[in-house]
């Protein structure tokens, strides 16, 4: 085959070498616009896993590359005058120049024709080639030539960064954080030979401007950063290589090939440097491409095969890179965290590394995390005492006012829809006391209605009649008694009013479907039906508001009599109080609509009333929809404000839910899908949070807790949801 490779970076060179090696009859030409030893940048990093792939594919290049490696296994984070190290990561670095020289040498040996100083600017000269590999980097000219086919998107990320070298030899992958009068700067530093390292400095665009760096000369930028990081550099210098402050371009392409032309490496995808994967991806692309060409006789089929294999992999890495860069863009949000937690949060920022991963790599680090977590949980010594004496994060107690939860796991089963006239029964007791009971710190009831009209379905439990108190008291006692540990499992009741989502059928028949008969009138902040088939609710007037407020007060008093340890008020999922909160469902023109202050007015009146009657020693949580997942609705930044308002009124815990405000919402589901919302609310509003969102494993819980993304986790049972609907669905309307 006659093959043209455009670009002599790692991707192009490795492809050329592997192809020629696989089939020496290939005629391969590689064109590179620069001279052989000119290169930008400094070092690149590979992980152990990447290296073993290289070894499998070609041991000679592997050996040549690894001969020159510097290896290290630690990540250091310098933050607030602390340096914290976690080990076992295993990285290897090499200078880019050396890597290219090695690959060039091997290309030469097998007979790849390389021409340097040749810039390709017109593909029509190459009509007689069977295959054209475009490895021409992030500004790929081939990609631009066939834009309509590849459909690329190039996003310039917000932050500014500059790529320096340094003669300071770091012995770990090092993250530095440094604040001065212009703002916050961070540096990502790693060694690549015995006397040189890479040092990438990054800051917000505004910080860059304030520091006058955008227009600064290279020498001025160096002087500025040397001074800034003087302490960490310890008298060493930063080295330049035509360095300038730029925005990272994230490249994606819908299609990776066109006829016999294929994109590879940075030309087709980039991943933010903070996860150091660009060179690895380019070289893995080369491997996949060569294998696909071995598998298929037909070039176009092979190129498709290559795209199919590589696209999902790069998308996964790009997602991780996106999360990582978003983290660094917002890192100030986490500056209140203590160093141990700050570092754990940083290490787990892209959700690809978990608590157990870190423990496997460095058990002493994980033990230190456990000890720190225990210390912070009980508010004593910062670093714990002996190794191995602290439980995993989820095993720590959590104090809320006078109530101490034995651990951080919460079980909140779905409603069985088996109540009659609001009376909870054995099914509730069985479900709340399921297999989890002995292991969780808190169980929480279904949303219990504060009045008959406040029920979602006729089968919903409530707390509005004298008999309910005794029925709940029995359940509370059974939870308190049957717990094995010394500190009994606590139980919270959710108090709710369904609002415009009331008067519907049990949910195994589908959500929000009005009753066949016996519907009761609904009210809401504004007269908007929940679904096109739903009843139009009445706009709540002053008397309605007063009645519901009193219902909540009565329910709270009953909850106390029944012995509940905690209340959660439901301000989420489109129920009555939520309908005031969201601009999508509140169109009022009185003092209860309009601004967020106004929309919060009624929910806060209810909160205050409940807080006033609920014992001082017992906590109150409030569940909110942190986003409506819908244009014009509540967004995450509003949720932060809402959480702050609640905290100011004495709310102890915010439970982070999302969506269900309207049926038009476009939720994004998956494992731990609410965690990033909780992270934002907790770390910006600085209030304790409880998070739901399909959390199913202990590892997920420990990772969330240790990173400070939440304080309590509501779990979904792994595997199958509960079971079949009861055979005798109740259908009594409220009297």
């Amino acid at each position: 085959m006659k093959i043209l490779i455009i670009g002599g970076g790692p991707g192009g060179l490795y492809s050329g070498f592997l192809l020629k090696k696989a089939d020496p009859t290939h005629e391969i030409t590689l064109l590179e616009r620069n001279p052989p030893d000119a290169t930008y940048g400094w070092g690149v990093v590979f992980s152990e896993r990447t290296l073993s792939t290289f070894q499998e594919v070609d041991s000679e290049t592997y050996q040549d590359i690894t001969k020159h490696f510097v290896r290290w296994d630690a990540i250091d984070v310098q933050y607030h005058d602390h340096t914290i190290r976690s080990g076992g990561h295993v990285f290897a670095g090499i200078s880019r120049k050396l890597l290219l020289n090695i690959l060039q040498k091997h290309c030469r040996e097998v007979g790849v024709r390389m021409k340097f100083g040749v810039e390709v600017s017109d593909l029509s000269d190459f009509g007689d080639f069977d295959l054209i590999i475009a490895a021409d980097g992030v500004n790929s000219f081939v990609r631009k030539t066939y834009e309509s086919i590849f459909q690329p998107s190039v996003t310039l990320e917000n932050a500014k960064f500059i790529w320096f070298g340094t003669d300071k030899v770091f012995d770990a992958f090092t993250f530095l954080f440094c604040e001065n009068e212009h703002g916050l700067f961070q540096a990502h530093c790693y060694p690549f030979d015995s006397n040189t390292g890479t040092c990438i400095v990054e800051c917000e665009q505004a910080t860059c401007q304030r520091a006058g760096l955008e227009k600064a000369s290279e020498a001025e930028s160096i002087a500025y950063c040397e001074k800034l990081f003087a302490q960490a550099l310890g008298g060493h210098r930063l080295l330049s290589n035509k360095s300038s402050w730029i925005n990272f371009p994230t490249v994606r392409n819908k299609t990776w090939r066109h006829k016999n032309i294929v994109l590879l490496g940075d030309a087709v995808h980039t991943a933010h440097f903070s996860i150091g994967s660009g060179t690895k991806l380019a070289m893995e692309d080369a491997i996949a491409l060569v294998r696909a060409l071995e598998r298929h006789r037909d070039v176009e089929t092979a190129l498709t095969d290559y795209e199919i294999e590589r696209k999902p992999v790069t998308e996964t890495i790009q997602n991780a890179a996106q999360q990582s860069l978003t983290y660094f863009e917002n890192v100030k949000r986490y500056f209140h965290l203590e160093p141990m937690q700050f570092v754990f949060h940083l290490l787990t920022r892209s959700e690809r590394v978990s608590y157990e991963n870190l423990r496997l790599r460095d058990s002493r680090y994980a033990d230190a995390i456990d000890r720190w977590f225990m210390g912070s949980a009980v508010g004593t010594s910062k670093n714990g005492d002996r190794a191995g004496d602290a439980p995993r994060p989820m095993g720590n107690a959590f104090p809320l006012r006078g109530v101490k939860l034995a651990n951080r796991v919460v079980w909140a089963p779905t409603a069985p829809y088996s109540a009659r006239e609001g009376m909870p029964n054995d099914r509730h007791q069985a479900r709340l006391g399921e297999r989890w009971l002995r292991e969780v710190g808190l169980v929480m009831t279904e949303p219990a209605a504060v009045s008959p009209e406040g029920r979602i379905t006729p089968g919903c439990a409530g707390i509005y009649r004298a008999e309910h108190v005794a029925a709940w008291a029995r359940i509370v006692a059974s939870i308190h008694d049957s717990s094995l540990s010394q500190s009994p499992t606590k139980i919270a009741i959710q108090l709710a009013h369904s609002g415009r989502r009331g008067s519907t059928r049990p949910r195994w028949e589908g959500l929000d479907r009005p009753l066949r008969d016996g519907n009761w009138p609904l009210f809401s902040a504004s007269p908007l039906p929940y679904t096109p088939l739903s009843q139009v609710p009445k706009e709540m007037g002053a008397a309605d508001r007063e009645k519901v407020r009193k219902d909540f007060i009565q329910a709270a008093e009953m909850a106390d009599q029944a012995g509940f340890d905690m209340i959660q008020l439901h301000f989420a999922h489109g129920y009555l109080l939520a309908s005031f909160l969201s601009p999508l469902t509140n169109q009022r023109s009185d003092g209860y609509g309009g601004s967020l202050d106004n929309r919060m007015r009624y929910p806060l009146e209810v909160f205050d009333a409940v807080r006033a009657v609920w014992p001082e020693t017992k906590p109150i949580a409030v569940a909110i929809s942190a986003t409506d997942w819908s244009k014009g609705g509540t967004e995450l930044q509003d949720a932060v404000v809402i959480a702050r308002m609640l905290q100011a009124r004495g709310c102890d815990l915010v439970t982070v839910l999302a969506g269900q405000t309207t049926i038009q919402a476009e939720p994004a589901y998956g494992p731990c899908f609410l965690t990033r919302f909780s992270d934002r609310v907790r770390n910006e509003a600085r209030i304790a949070t409880m998070v739901a969102g399909h959390i199913t494993t202990a590892d997920q819980i420990n990772t969330i807790l240790a990173a400070g993304r939440a304080d309590l986790c509501i779990i979904d049972p792994p595997g199958d949801p509960p079971g079949n609907p009861p055979s005798d669905p109740p259908s009594d309307p409220p009297s």
């Binding site: 299609t255 089929t301 498709t304 095969d305 795209e307 199919i308 779905t414 409603a415 069985p416 829809y417 049990p506 949910r507 195994w508 028949e509 589908g510 959500l511 929000d512 479907r513 066949r516 679904t531 096109p532 088939l533 969506g659 269900q660 049926i663 919402a665 476009e666 939720p667 994004a668 589901y669 998956g670 494992p671 899908f673 739901a692 969102g693 399909h694 979904d716 595997g719 199958d720 949801p721 509960p722 079971g723 079949n724 609907p725």
Partner: protein, 280 residues
């Protein structure tokens, strides 16, 4: 995990004889379900009509549309047609609905394309009401009507599924892809507060025997030609050996699939026999 088989109704050359023979033999075999595709603007059979015919020559096997392009249909007429197939089959119908991936189907049917997502959501709620309220007969065999499944990979598809359906139908791909979608479906299900069991369905394509592989690939490329590069991707996943099928089945089982449907890509009854041998 149950294993079902698809009918070859979108494969060129399929006729009455093949469909009836296929249905009969599948019913005699161990398959749990007969699946059927919907593709309006294409040389293919209409799903519910075909399932009615299959109902007449089978006794045991369940009959599932996987999927039917819901918004192409008037909801009341769809409710009646489905109730009829359900009655004709003695309660064996499973109705899977999705948006359909092709604008052309909507054009040819003269139905608006743009609002299809919203219409499908409304349709799902309305179907149940027609069946439950016995607005018209025939009376469905189970209270509330046939089991409903929803397919689709967009984010709203999962919410729609959890709001209205009994389960989720994945559109095919390696077990890993199914597992990811299944996690989304479970997350949506719990978030919706559904107290009942979520049913997870998967599917795959096969062509067994040296003589069949090329024809299978040809069919896949043509059937998915509307989908651009996706056509090649899905074609590359074609299962062509008993080993590949066994691995695929195991992968789906491990990912928590409840029911896996294997679809032929060659319209020949030997394909059914060969699958039976491979699945054992």
């Amino acid at each position: 995990m149950k294993v079902g088989i698809g009918l070859p109704t979108t494969i060129l050359g399929t006729d009455r004889a093949l469909i009836l023979e296929w249905a009969r033999r599948a019913d005699e075999g161990r398959y749990s379900t007969l699946g059927i595709f919907d593709r309006f603007a294409y040389d293919s059979f209409e799903p519910l009509t075909t399932l009615a015919a299959a109902a007449a020559v089978t006794e045991r096997i369940r009959l599932a549309t996987t999927i039917l392009t819901g918004p192409l249909h008037n909801t009341a007429m769809l409710a009646k047609a489905a109730a009829s197939v359900d009655a004709l089959s003695g309660g064996r119908l499973v109705l899977g609905l999705a948006l359909g991936a092709r604008e052309a189907d909507y054009k040819v049917a003269g139905v608006e394309y743009r609002s299809r997502g919203r219409r499908l959501s409304e349709q799902l709620g309305a179907l149940r009401s027609y069946w439950e309220e016995n607005t018209f007969g025939p009376k469905p065999s189970r209270p509330g009507g046939p089991e409903l499944l929803v397919g689709g990979t967009s984010e709203p598809a999962f919410a729609r599924m959890a709001r209205y359906a009994n389960g989720y139908l994945h559109g095919g791909g390696p077990p890993r892809a199914f597992a990811r979608a299944a996690e989304k479906a479970r997350a949506a299900w719990f978030d919706a507060g559904r107290p009942d069991k979520l049913h997870l369905w998967g599917m795959g394509y096969y062509a067994l025997g040296e003589d069949a592989v090329e024809a299978g690939i040809g069919y896949m490329k043509d059937y998915y030609s509307f989908a651009g590069p996706f056509a090649d991707r899905i074609t590359a996943g074609l299962l062509t050996t008993p080993n590949a099928i066994a691995e695929f089945i195991q992968g789906y089982q491990e990912a928590g699939c409840d029911e896996l449907l294997l679809f032929p890509t060659v319209g020949n009854i030997t394909q059914l026999t060969r699958l039976a041998e491979a699945v054992g």
